[in-house]
């Protein structure tokens, strides 16, 4: 099984971090992983995206052109990446910031109000973790426990107080997937 994911949004929405946490977690589970960011001027505040692959098999191209899932955090990303999802694949839409509906009927579409949930939890910063929670619930690309292990390692020490917040965000995201 290979998960080939496009994650996209504005710079600052934590799109790159979402990808990194997923590949770290999947790697700890013994899977093959790769993470490839877009780079260049768009890094400085424009759109950002990364290609993430989690696979039981050795990974070929690290760049995703036929996505098993696209996670779009803003409207331009929806417009750009909806068509890249393979039939039967998944599209996760941040419905807090995107009022448009998906047009395709051959894919599974999940609307996740990531920013609304994050705000309920106290900060927009965890919108990416809400989305990641939804994605792993929908795909099984990594377990919530592995993700939490990575988040715990990331925030070990002085920032440890934010760990429960991230866990809550992850679970709330997962609950959005029916």
């Amino acid at each position: 099984m290979a998960h080939e994911i496009i994650m996209a949004g504005f710079g600052g929405q934590g799109v790159m971090a979402m990808g990194k946490i997923l590949v770290e977690a999947a790697m700890e589970e013994g899977k093959n992983v790769s993470w490839l960011p877009s780079y260049g001027p768009e890094m400085r505040g424009g759109t950002a995206n990364c290609s993430v692959i989690v696979s039981d098999e050795p990974i070929g191209a690290p760049i995703v052109t036929e996505a098993t899932a696209a996670i779009v955090m803003n409207r331009p990303s929806l417009d750009k990446y909806e068509s890249m999802v393979v039939p039967g694949g998944a599209l996760l839409i941040n419905s807090s910031l995107i009022d448009k509906k998906a047009t395709r009927e051959d894919i599974k579409v999940h609307y996740v109000p990531a920013n609304d949930i994050a705000q309920e939890l106290g900060t927009d910063k965890v919108a990416n973790i809400v989305m990641l929670g939804a994605y792993i619930q929908a795909s099984g690309a990594a377990s919530a426990d592995s993700i939490m292990n990575i988040i715990t390692q990331m925030f070990a020490g002085k920032k440890a107080t934010v760990i429960p917040l991230n866990k809550e965000a992850l679970l709330r995201g997962a609950a959005c997937i029916k």
Binding site: K20, V23, N32, S34, L36, Y39, I59, A61, P62, E66
Partner: protein, 355 residues
Amino acid sequence: MAKELWKGNEAVAEAAIKAGCRFFFGYPITPQNEIPEYMAMKMPQIDGCFLQAESEVAAINMVYGAAGAGARVMTSSSSPGISLKQEGITYIAGAELPCVIVNMVRGGPGLGSIQPAQSDYFQACKGGGHGDYRLIVLAPASVQEAVDLVQEAFDIADQYRNPVMILGDGMMGQMMEPVEFKEVKKRSLPEKTWATVGTKGKRKPNVVNSLYIDAADCHNHNVDLFKKYAEIEKNEVRVDTYNVENAEIVFVAYGTTARIVKNAINSLAKEGIKAGLIRPVTLWPYPYKAIEEAAEKASVKAFMSVEMSMGQMVEDVKLGANGKKPVYFYGKAGGAFPTPKGIAEEAKKILGGAK
């Protein structure tokens, strides 16, 4: 050691440090900035020296000085910066100094783009600077392979007193993959008796030089260089193959493009089309023999060189195939990349046409 996630550029820098590189001279350019940044952070902690030069030209001449002074030294850049370094590279080759040069290639010509490309193949493998000389060119296809090759590159450079280029691309530099830093088998290396370290009053002065003002002397110097290059061609060719047995079409691709091609091969297999891959790991010396052997197989109908360029390595594939089988080209340039789908469709066209 357990696997860790590393970004290509940073992994390359760490591998160099692990290989004993303690001197790095560089200049900022996208998409390789994480290499000098990593060196700037790490070198002071290990009594090494990172220096940001005033230009790529200065940086490569600092490399010349440090290599001539006997140190393990590296520089890195991306295409436009590597063009500027060509002056120093030909002097380094002429003076037979060991060093490692990393090129995380981006789209050209001119300022081009900052996206991944393979359009510096000619520059790396067929000259680049003036004069008859060769770089040993290593083309990793994964972050792990980049790490392994960088560590070995310093030994190869020292063994042959020759600059070694790691030819990656923007994708290689920017992507993250699991890496394990392994103990690389050390080669037994000659002492650097030629280095300028001070005579200590005990021997005649050493001179690091590429000037042979007398034409006959300069000719002989070239002949000696080419004896060395022949030795490298004999000993150092490396190639990786995938599904070449019984393949109808053999793709030839290096670096990250080879990985895209593997996806195309797997999708062709689902349609019952047998395709294989020859992946040169050394671009110079080039694995002509692997191409020639494939060309002699009855099952092989055609070759296709797949590149992130307008077609550069394809010329070497033709040399290897030597007219025995047709050689086609498929590529995208300027920072665009061929997709598995595009490659597979092109292959089907060729095989359809060949029937």
